[in-house]
């Protein structure tokens, strides 16, 4: 009789959580949001995710909503959403070492799938969150607020750095403040490039904000770290030479020898800094393996990344009088892959435990029903269906992030320019002599949106 009790319980469980990502995979939930970003009403995508912010994965949906609002140019709304995501992370930080709710989530993950565990983004997502929040503040004209967010992301960056420091030589070198191209070359061969677990784009963004808001010394530190991760970027090299000279740092001569002299703005010129984001970070795919245990069908599903993504081309910025080609500073897909790699051991342990738990569930139903010989084993069938249906890979990740970030920097005579990224829609930017124009361009495929502010 036991199995008849189980059925309504199971159906209750299933219907109770059908609305979130436990059964509907996350990428397909976000697909319409991403599609909306490629129309002229991108903000509508927020409506798709807004109602989920109060749920268990609220942090993730708040990140997506914040990003959508930001790409649409609604910086105030984006700020609010990001604040909710930040609050979500802080709640995780405050959790007790042995938390009852965490244990509860892990236990239910043994019977359903990993999607029941509340989403907590990997380190790089959390750094990006504060970095984007800093951009929100600067584009809504609050410089002090922007610097607060910059300091927050600096704090998180250093804790990320500390996490890898023990295991990785090049990160150690970063702490010593050296830029060692050799270590990076070795790393590339070994498949442990620094850029696959530390984000040069966030270091560069915080560096830029430090610099344009009058803290060149802090900017130098951030640029130096960015250069350790992404040593081949010519704009970054020039920034380092220029700042080392300006601050009369001991490395000034060495940098100049390696990368050449840095140019300075002429009297009537202003500086233009481009931060360009292109494409979308790849989605996690699910790898499902069916098998039988004691004659009962079961599956194991794990999240993975398939490596068939097309490389992003460096953006050509037109309309400045001279052509300017942006240089890539960070590939976010590499960061995403590393984050998944790190999650994998724990996910595998949970997977093994789940396979065991589910096979025991199926067997317990089976042995009871066998007693009545001629009846159909509805309980067993239902249990097998339940086990297969509920076995879903955890495919959650912040999907509206860009695939690649590029930077460019130049001096221009003061005036108004109509800039264009590759063959996208042109946008107006202003340049004033002696001032800096920060231009943030987000290319979502069909649309490139430009936001600029003069500081």
């Amino acid at each position: 009789m036991k199995q008849w009790l189980l059925l309504p319980l199971l159906s209750f469980l299933v219907s109770g959580c059908a609305l979130n990502s436990i059964f509907i995979n996350y990428p397909s939930q976000i697909a319409p949001v991403k599609a909306q970003l490629n129309t002229n009403t991108p903000i509508k995508g927020v409506l798709e995710v807004e109602s989920n912010i109060s749920g268990a994965d609220g942090l993730l949906y708040a990140q997506e909503a914040g990003r959508v609002a930001q790409i649409s140019g609604d910086f105030e709304a984006s700020k609010e959403y990001y604040q909710q995501a930040v609050a979500g992370y802080l709640k995780f930080d405050d959790k007790a070492t042995l938390s009852v709710s965490d244990m509860g989530a892990t236990t239910s993950s043994l019977f359903i799938n990993d999607n029941v565990i509340p989403y907590r983004g990997p380190g790089y997502e959390r750094v990006m969150l504060h970095q984007y929040q800093a951009l929100n503040y600067i584009f809504s004209g609050d410089q002090q607020g922007a610097l607060v967010e910059v300091r927050r992301s600096n704090g998180l960056q250093s804790s990320e750095q500390a996490r890898y420091q023990k295991s990785n030589e090049s990160v150690q070198a970063m702490a010593n403040g050296t830029i060692d191209a050799e270590v990076n070359k070795l790393g590339k061969a070994a498949g442990t490039v620094t850029s696959s677990f530390l984000n040069a784009y966030s270091y560069y963004t915080t560096g830029v904000l430090h610099e344009i808001l009058g803290e060149p010394n802090d900017a130098f530190i951030d640029y130096r770290k960015a250069a350790q991760i992404s040593p081949d970027n010519p704009y970054l090299q020039k920034d380092l030479v220029r700042l080392a000279k300006q601050l009369s740092m001991p490395q000034a001569d060495e940098f100049e020898r390696r990368w050449g002299k840095a140019t300075r703005a002429k009297k009537e010129q202003g500086e233009v800094i481009f931060l360009i984001e292109r494409g979308f970070v790849p989605e996690k795919q699910s790898l499902t393996v069916p098998f039988t245990i004691h004659g009962n069908w079961q599956t194991a599903s794990l999240a993975t990344y398939t490596s068939n993504s097309r490389p992003v081309s460096p953006g050509k910025i037109k309309g400045l009088g001279k052509s300017l080609t942006a240089a890539p500073i960070a590939n976010l897909d590499a960061l995403a892959i590393t984050a998944l790699k790190e999650e994998l051991p724990a996910a595998l342990i949970r997977q093994a435990a789940r396979v065991y738990a589910k096979s025991e569930m199926a067997r317990s139903v089976e042995s009871n029903s066998k007693k009545r010989n001629n009846e159909t084993d509805i309980g067993v069938i239902a249990m097998q269906i339940f086990n297969v249906i509920t076995e879903q890979a955890d495919r959650r990740s912040w999907l509206t992030l860009p695939k690649q970030a590029q930077i460019a920097r130049t001096y221009l005579n003061s005036g108004s320019y109509s800039v264009q990224l590759d063959n996208g829609t042109p946008a107006q930017i202003e340049v004033k002599s002696g001032r800096t124009t920060l231009v943030w361009a987000v290319d979502t495929g069909n649309y490139t949106r430009f936001y600029s502010i003069i500081i």
Binding site: D94, T97, Q144, R151
Partner: protein, 197 residues
Amino acid sequence: MKHFKLIFMLAVAIGLAGCQSKVEYGDATEVETVNENFGSSDLQAIAAKMVDSMLTFPPVMVLTANDRPIMFVDKIKNKTSEHIDTESVTDSISNKLLRSGKFRFIDMTKVDAVRKQLDYQNNAGMVDPSTAISFGRQIGAQYMLYGNLSSIVKQDGSTKDVYYKMTMRLMDLETGLIEWSDEKEIRKVKSKSFLGL
């Protein structure tokens, strides 16, 4: 069995009532430790320390012995990693200084509003010119009060250490000399509980 059911129902009712949220009035000067962020206790401690220090500093006592010097408060620069309303800190400090009766203040945040009002009085044609306050009669400040609020946050495992330092200075605008300076340090340590929700 019936008794058991009744007791169970009662327990549930009591349990639910216990979960109800409630609102209470508290003491505004009570020590607040809801979390490790900058809070009202920190603000009060900073304001009290700064005002005490300034009013009891011998050279400042000489300055204020026969005169009520005029000063203005520049913004306190927020160099922490929190969004803090530093204007509220300066408000508390200027309030206390003003109440001591030793200083007079010029409010720089209201200059625009004052300009608008004077513009109205003088140029709108609505105000009797004999009662209109003319431009250029205000008194200039002699001293500037300014400061920095910085923080160092460290976290390792279950311990979080937050250190705040508020530095304030009083500058004589005529000579550029710093007449007074002091700092207030605050340290807060938060340790995560081992077992919890």
